[in-house]
Point group: C2
Chain length 545, copies 2
Amino acid sequence: MKIAIAQLNFHIGNFDGNVEKMLTAIANAKEEKADLICFSELATCGYPPRDFLEFDDFIKEGMAAIDCLAKAAKGIAVVVGAPSKNPVVEGKDLYNSAYFLANGTIQQVQHKALLPTYDVFDEYRYFEPASEFNIVEFKGKRIALTVCEDIWNIGNENPLYTICPLDELMPQKPDFVLNLSASPFSYTHAEERIRILKANVKRYGLPMFYVNHSGAQTELLFDGGSLVIAPNGEIYDELPYFEEAIRYYELEDVNAGKQQFTQPKDKMTLIHDALVMGIRDYFGKLGFRKAIFGLSGGIDSAVTAVLAARALGEDNVRCILMPSQFSSGHSVNDARQLAENLGIQYDIMPIQSMYEAYMDTLKPHFWGKDFNVTEENLQARIRGMLLMAMSNKFGNILLNTSNKSEMAVGYGTLYGDMCGGLSVIGDVYKTEVFELARYMNKDGEVIPENTITKPPSAELRPDQKDSDSLPDYDILDKVLFEYIENQQGPKEIIQMGFDEKLVRRILRLVNINEFKRHQTAPVLRVSRKAFGMGRRMPIVGKYLS
Amino acid sequence: MKIAIAQLNFHIGNFDGNVEKMLTAIANAKEEKADLICFSELATCGYPPRDFLEFDDFIKEGMAAIDCLAKAAKGIAVVVGAPSKNPVVEGKDLYNSAYFLANGTIQQVQHKALLPTYDVFDEYRYFEPASEFNIVEFKGKRIALTVCEDIWNIGNENPLYTICPLDELMPQKPDFVLNLSASPFSYTHAEERIRILKANVKRYGLPMFYVNHSGAQTELLFDGGSLVIAPNGEIYDELPYFEEAIRYYELEDVNAGKQQFTQPKDKMTLIHDALVMGIRDYFGKLGFRKAIFGLSGGIDSAVTAVLAARALGEDNVRCILMPSQFSSGHSVNDARQLAENLGIQYDIMPIQSMYEAYMDTLKPHFWGKDFNVTEENLQARIRGMLLMAMSNKFGNILLNTSNKSEMAVGYGTLYGDMCGGLSVIGDVYKTEVFELARYMNKDGEVIPENTITKPPSAELRPDQKDSDSLPDYDILDKVLFEYIENQQGPKEIIQMGFDEKLVRRILRLVNINEFKRHQTAPVLRVSRKAFGMGRRMPIVGKYLS
């Protein structure tokens, strides 16, 4: 039996586009004489469709897509993920299903049983879990159909679930397992995924074909990396990360267990490639081509610039240098050097005249008040406004350049440097931004060395340094990681050896700045716990604050 | 048996404050010789605690609060909602529980069985549903303890659930039902709540004591309106809306069924009072006293001003009039008149000089491009910046004045008039804003008549009217209501008799403006479906767009 794995980039709600892409893949697979082609989870409507699922019209569009694919399933079986209606009144209205299409019709539907409802996942908001499990028989083979999370509870090792779908299916003696996934990337996820798949194969002794979505849906980045695991537990093939791919496998070859291709898993390569894909798909799926952003001479905007240029092409990237009276000489030079290294268009717009116009208006109202964060914010906001004006006039999307450390502690200006349609490095800690910059320079200087080595500064008052208001990033990032990624409380973090006063100050800053993060752009997610849909915090709270 | 219902305003994560408030109530109840006092759902930690629940430290603080309340439960029983740990490895880590405290210790714990996971609710993200149901015996009475949603599936009439907790408890022959709730307000919710409670009493023939939270947690407004229903199915008492209250009842009196107090349920009264409470608690719980906002002479900022003055007191409200070259004469007059009617401080800051400074800087880059939405946005953003500067300098919170209609179709400027820490009327359609203005003027003119009668205009270009770019609000709001509140698709809405082209244009505007709503302030929720945490939409999608 020849099996095709189609790791494609679908677009939420774009039924026509998604079906067309699948029809092309099916036609190719027929030419290659494949017996079966498998697409990823919720491929018809894109993953995650979120509250679109609550619209009957949306579900009907999904059913029409399935009918259209079923018609093409002649001479080949098509396995595809789509929502299906729960015919029973009790329980949620929908299932998250794998459709098995053959002979021009829907042959069988297997629903997902394990519905992730944590972090970025809301599946129990929409879906009823499967209670029946049936093998699909096709051309003399018995196929165990599973959807994503269904293989993540191996004989109940996962405390979240009480059902193990493959345990349910094994009595029906399957020959191999197909898994349809839409499993979002984080820089440790590929290794976890391989561990889980190998553990499944070890327990069940069956070859597994794991098909993942590849492509970005706003903040969620899907890396692909689809897998074929031989019954001996070794990786037979791992598909590329961050791109579409269709691959063909003879079941007999996989059962014999020969080929062993895997992908590199270096953290900085993964983050770099994930962010490039995230930018590219955000623009592509919204129908935009060009990006704009401010270039300060600092490392955050420099790293963002490189990523944007690599994602969109240097001709589609434009940056603005907006020096103030507090900008150091090297800022403009470093920024200009970077723009020239990248070959991207840049303009210089000093902000002094607007700053003076505001201060003239505000002076009578500020009488007797000292220069403080107000005037600092004013400068950041003038820059934000100039960028938005350029964005509006030329139809570019403004990229936000804030990093995770400053977003965490609120070291940024709402409606100022926190402007933008997409936060590119908002899930990358400052210390990781430095690593990323070094990684980008590994084959020759792209980011000026001075941008990397000079002390970070917002340059909003004379001789300002980040270290005036923040702890060293080395320490700050470690504490933030324990609090955000590892969800440790103050006592646990202090016990690790960090200074108590410092820990309490940092956690307080994180919590009191929830209101700022509430209003920021979606953040491309590369870690296990990013700001955004996967981290839901009260604004009006009084905890560690 | 004398039962005390304590409908109080808790603060998320503020364990000390919440416990202190409950200890005071317990002391009062002892003086009144009550046998039992009942607080609302998750009273120790405040509802909804959201992802704070994922922190072990937070759960421990909650347990310490329970221990502290248990010590006070001497000579009186205390019923209180709090998270509890699931001792079993399988399933979610926590239960949403009702604690029964007496004789200085925890006597019994009943977990919640029905976990709402829709709209603003994420309970299955955190909690395992109860599988055991036990009556509490106390002073010769048998009490059925239930938590919120547990009484919303009456003998399985609710298709969402397959368990009916009271059906499980009835064989144990309870004498009355206690329900601990944190059930958020919408302007139709009080009537639904009464219908459900009456239906429960009709089915089970037992008196019910329903204790709801009162107070706002950011966007979620809890109206209180706690209820006592006599076994004959009539309302024995309904507690006030939007305020704290403690009431005492002799069980024998309730069983006899005499007293019949209810609260007025007029839509505009409810929305008005809900929003006033929402503003007051947002400020109070964040530790702020003073609000600032722009007053345009239009109806949205006028209604916001009245609400703010009533919530915070006129001395704590400050507004800024920011006319441009496109402002009509009546704008400043109407705004000034309103400020004087309310007795609130106002300042005038013309925006011309800043506008010119920007245009001088941008002109060379805009060469050959016509005046368009860019220049309109620029004016709105200058206003946003001036307000933020005042907010920063004086420590005020900026109130956002956008209405639901314009938020829906994206008729507003990101980082301009969409600025602000809290959206006051972002869940009130424009036609409802007019109703609200009339309601405010019912006892004499507060909002100048001209503000209500003149055609709405953003005044960002010469002779601009909202009706130049938008359909009539009468039609727009009806279509939006069908799409947003009723989740009807385009075909259904067109079938109701609306023009097809218009419907498709409106739904498209709603969908393509998701990116703007993603970055706006939390919206005080007064309808069944508000923008914010209860409506989760993809940004990068292509559906009806």
